[in-house]
Amino acid sequence: VTAAIRRTVLALLLVLLAGSALAIDTETPLPDPAQQARYTALIHELRCLQCQNQTIADSAAGLAADLRHEVRGMVASGKSDDEIRRFLTDRYGDFVLYQPPVRGRTVLLWAAPVLLLLAGLATVGVVIVRRSRRPIDLESEPEGGGTAQ
């Protein structure tokens, strides 16, 4: 029975994944595999503004198709990734990039994970220090004590 379940689950997973094989991208692959790889990477990091929660690689919207065409053309004509990104941000703003650049407005965004990690470590540190100063037998010490206040 478990084997049957496993098989069914596997089949369902395969069906779910099959969607990705139905290509939204109808652009002809670039002859140079390296260029094609750059093209694929780029369209996965650019936002489709018509349907704001998808990349232009995922979106079936008309604008996404136009932008894929544009990006493909620029890759083919030898533009660098940065030049292509700049072409798009010049027209659509930083919002077109899924990875926002570090700027005055986004410093907090980029620093937040590190800051939160430090805050977490500091909290853990404080808790450990407090506990280590406390008598080991907590039950017999109703006042708790040992806390630095």
């Binding site: 008309g62 136009d66 932008l67």
Partner: protein, 195 residues
């Protein structure tokens, strides 16, 4: 962590703030979220609207076939010298119908010429659309492949740009144009620039 905090606090007779602080933070957060949701519902905030990087910069130049006569060209450079509007539309766009009356009214008032950019549209349909509803445009450029729309950072019709006499993009409105937007957001920007 939360477990250790509770046992710790229960043994310490802590100040009331220890209990109140998370509650106050929670209420503050709910407040911020509610206010933002309210703003969205009241159309005071449009989270889908992205500020155009074009504002304050030179309007991207284009030279496209005219919708009315493909043998003729429509170039926005020909409009420089006085402020003008660039209105991106298409017959497939529902909101464009909603703003059409406003565009006709603006055109009739003679305050600014309106340059239409027919975005990825069927030319025959577009022409009959203008015959049927009236034509507010001084000229309509046919952007059949949407290449010019990309240059203008267009992502959803209708979009309307205000361009100054010297060809600088002054403002952009996304969604149906209204007389209110014209009066409050557009007209004041060209108050000094008009002859």
């Amino acid at each position: 962590v939360s477990e250790s905090v509770t046992t710790e606090t229960s043994q310490e007779r802590p100040g009331a703030w220890r209990y109140l602080l998370p509650f106050v933070l929670f209420v503050a957060l709910v407040g911020v979220f509610s206010l933002t949701l309210w703003k969205i519902r009241e159309h005071r905030l449009n989270i889908e609207e992205i500020k155009s990087p074009l504002i304050g910069r030179a309007a991207p130049a284009f030279d496209l076939p005219s919708l009315a006569n493909p043998a003729e060209r429509v170039a926005n450079a020909a409009f420089h010298g006085r402020p003008y509007l660039v209105n991106v539309w298409g017959t497939w766009c529902g909101e464009c119908r909603a703003e059409h009356g406003t565009l006709l009214e603006l055109a009739k008032s003679g305050q600014v010429p309106i340059l239409g950019l027919d975005w990825k549209d069927d030319s025959a349909l577009a022409q009959s659309y203008l015959v049927g509803l009236g034509n507010p445009y001084t000229a309509v450029a046919n952007d059949a492949d949407g290449r010019v729309a990309i240059d203008w950072g267009v992502y959803g019709a209708p979009e309307t740009f205000l361009v100054s006499a010297d060809g600088i993009v002054l403002a952009k409105h996304i969604g149906a144009m209204t007389i209110d937007v014209w009066r409050h957001d557009f007209a004041p920007r060209i108050g000094g620039a008009r002859p």
